[in-house]
């Protein structure tokens, strides 16, 4: 028998009200605000009135150009060699007040390569943001498959009737319950360049052959270190999702497989994996979305450094919006992230759709 409270429509709305208001105030409203502000020059605190600036923020963030320059030649037309390599005119001469190249004004070199005699430069208006995009994509491309795969492996391992299996489930799930900020702080000690746990461990098992590495202070290892830690931290969460998927598969199907003589691998290939389709889509999309939102680890462990090697999109959005008080720029970054994540989610859904 439902009580009066359960039947009353008004009571229902009142109960949902506080949470609904908070979600509206802190999620839905800011979402639309971000769109609106990204087309203005709004600053966090500024005496100047807000102006509509169209796509200027996006042009500033995503503006890129390709410039191919020929080597410097002498009066006879021969290439001038400096220390055995051709010399090229300085990029600055194109991007600073050069009336012949107005579209390159203010751009900086992002990367370059040599093709024949001439050299091609890829220029960007905002080099740091491009680095952030690339880093975020590297993070997603590594984390999504590795974390999903590891989580599935763990789920298969703990989906057995063994004595004390709940202990293992708890151990694997524990990092998920701990705040990512705390985890990041702890791993900063683990990755420490002098007396970190990882260095000591590697030193001990290699009898000192592996040198001490400043994992977070070295541009070539910092992003990898953060990737490894992030995979470890959230793998338990996705393990639980996989586990719930595994448990929806009817045990009779496994019995039928056993009677028909399926090996362990065939059982996985023909019964388990097809039964996990929907779970796989969910896990992949959730990991991808979480990975794109990479922020706390960066903020606590490296602040985007060293040498921008761990810059990410969300870190840039916060850095710009609050650090530099450029709310409109931060908003534009948020909108770009939204479009990227939406596009990738739609592609994933389309790729994993049910084919009939």
């Amino acid at each position: 028998m439902a009580s009066k409270f359960q039947r009353s429509n008004r009571t229902g709305w009142l109960m949902a009200g506080p949470a609904g208001l908070l979600i509206a105030g802190f999620v839905i409203l800011p979402f639309f605000f971000a769109f609106a502000l990204s087309f203005t020059n709004q600053r966090l605190i500024s005496p100047n009135p807000t102006e509509f600036t169209g796509l200027a923020n996006y042009r500033q963030l995503l503006g890129m150009a390709v410039l191919t320059v020929d080597p410097v030649v002498d009066a006879a037309g021969a290439v001038v060699l400096k220390d055995g390599v051709p010399e090229y005119p300085a990029i600055r001469s194109f991007t600073r007040n050069n009336p012949d190249y107005p579209h390159l004004q203010g751009m900086r070199e992002w990367t370059s390569f040599t093709w024949g005699d001439s050299r091609t430069y890829i220029l960007a208006r905002d080099v740091v943001f491009l680095t952030a995009i690339v880093n975020t994509f590297i993070f997603v491309i590594v984390v999504a498959p590795v974390q999903a795969g590891l989580a599935l492996g763990l789920a298969l391992l703990i989906n057995q009737r063994l004595r004390g299996i709940n202990l293992f489930r708890a151990i694997y799930f524990m990092p998920v319950v701990v705040s990512i900020v705390v985890v990041s702080l702890l791993w900063r000690f683990i990755y420490d360049g002098n007396s970190g746990l990882l260095n000591n461990l590697l030193g001990a098992i290699s009898f000192g052959a592996i040198p001490q590495i400043d994992w977070l202070g070295n541009p070539s290892t910092a992003l990898g270190a953060i990737i490894a830690m992030s995979i470890w931290q959230a793998v338990g969460f996705h393990m639980v999702i996989w586990l719930s998927g595994l448990q929806t598969i009817s045990p009779t199907l496994y019995e039928a497989g056993a009677i028909e003589g399926a090996s362990k691998w065939q059982t996985f290939r023909y019964i388990t994996w097809p039964g996990l389709r929907n779970t796989a889509v969910l896990v992949l999309i959730v990991i991808t979305m979480q990975a794109f939102a990479l922020f706390a680890q960066i903020d606590v462990m490296t602040s985007g450094g060293p040498l921008d090697s761990t810059q990410t999109i969300v870190f840039q959005a916060i850095e710009r919006g609050y650090g530099k008080q450029d709310i409109s720029g931060g908003s534009a970054i948020s909108v770009i992230l939204f479009v990227i994540v939406l596009t990738i989610s739609l592609i994933q859904r389309w790729l994993t759709r049910e084919r009939t």
Binding site: E255, A256, E260, A262, P274
Partner: protein, 355 residues
């Protein structure tokens, strides 16, 4: 080739003893039905034969090999489950061919064998559908197809018709009977439905509480039940049991009576009867008929309920001593509720179970 012998088979889960020592000999090509109420251990016994449950004690011999410790695939059995257990993401063709795919057969072999199985089960038109597009009966056909395509020596059926509606159940029952004749393989079939047991079996094994009650042909069990349980379990409606007193006994005959029953001489088939003993007299509802005059062995009571089925009329009668009694008359008849009725029966067709 594939006779199955169960010797002293036991199964325990901790302290719970589910199968308490079962001996059954199933001959090659025989259709053997395990029947019993739910919880009697019949499915567990079948799953032990399949290899899906460990055997706690005793030996299981299939085709002359002790297979106690062999995995299911090495026992040469195929199984059809109550829930069909067909793979939802595969087409019917892939489902039927599953065992062949696992064994690594090439496509031509698979296609030929699947086509033959589909022809036998009349489901050629279903091969490219998915399980979600099939009815219950069609799904069970697919499950049977998957079982027959490998041509196993032994088929195991675990209540295959329980999820089907009544009409379909009868069709599929006949199909399974025909299939057994066509394939000539040994079949072990578990059901709680005594009609399936009676119609399909060469040999029925009646189980209760993990013990065999009786083994025999359907008619053997029907006409010569070894105990009250078997007598009550087989036959529909169930056999009536009357509490009676043995007045006198003489070898394989005894005279019994009670408040509603005039003294009558009945055969003693099971055990022996002593004068003054309490006993139960079993009379099948079909052998009861109303009689107009006073004849020996008459039962006297009042009509409580009638169910007219056209071909048969089931009458519930309350006897003088307040015990209920069911009579099934093989014709359409009308009885007013509450009217007194006298029922007669052939004493030779009764079963006396003395303590």
């Amino acid at each position: 080739m594939a006779a199955i012998t169960l010797t002293g088979l036991k199964k325990s889960y901790g302290n719970a003893h589910v199968i308490k020592g079962v001996d059954i000999a199933i001959e090659d090509g025989e259709f053997c039905v395990f029947v019993g109420p739910s919880g009697c251990g019949k499915s567990t016994l079948l799953r032990m034969i399949a290899g899906l449950e460990d055997i706690t004690d005793g030996t299981l011999d299939i085709g002359g090999r002790v297979v106690n410790d062999l995995p299911p695939k090495d026992r040469g059995v195929a199984m059809v489950f109550q829930s069909y257990a067909i793979f939802p993401h595969m087409t019917v063709r892939e489902n039927v061919a599953f065992g062949l795919t696992i064994a690594g057969d090439d496509k031509a072999t698979k296609d030929a064998k699947v086509a033959e199985a589909a022809r036998i089960l009349q489901m050629e038109h279903l091969l490219d559908r998915r399980p979600s597009q099939l009815s219950g009966g069609q799904r069970q056909r697919v499950a049977i197809g998957r079982a027959i395509v490998r041509k196993p020596q032994v088929f195991l059926f675990d209540e295959p018709l329980s999820n089907l509606d009544a009409a379909l159940r009868m069709d599929m029952r006949m199909e399974i009977g025909k299939l057994h004749k066509a394939l000539g393989a040994t079949m072990v079939y578990v059901t709680h439905d005594q009609v399936e047991a009676m119609t399909l079996a060469d040999k029925i094994v009646v189980l209760k509480d993990g013990l065999v009650q009786q083994i025999g042909s359907p008619m053997d069990l029907y006409h010569n039940p070894a105990n009250e349980f078997v007598a009550g379990f087989l036959g529909a409606p169930s056999m009536n049991f009357l509490e009676v007193e043995v007045v006198s006994a003489n070898g394989d005959k005894a005279v019994v009576r009670n408040a509603a029953l005039d003294p009558v001489e009945v055969p003693v088939r099971v055990g022996s009867a002593q004068p003054g003993q309490r006993a139960r007299l079993g009379i099948r509802p079909q052998y009861l008929a109303p009689t107009p005059d006073t004849e020996p062995g008459q039962l006297h009571g009042t009509v409580m309920l009638t169910e007219r089925l056209g071909s048969e009329t089931v009458v519930e009668v309350q006897l003088r001593d307040k015990t209920p009694l069911i009579a099934a008359l093989t014709r359409d008849a009308v009885f007013a509720l509450g009217t007194p009725v006298n029922l007669g029966f052939d004493p030779a067709m009764t079963h006396l179970f003395a303590d």
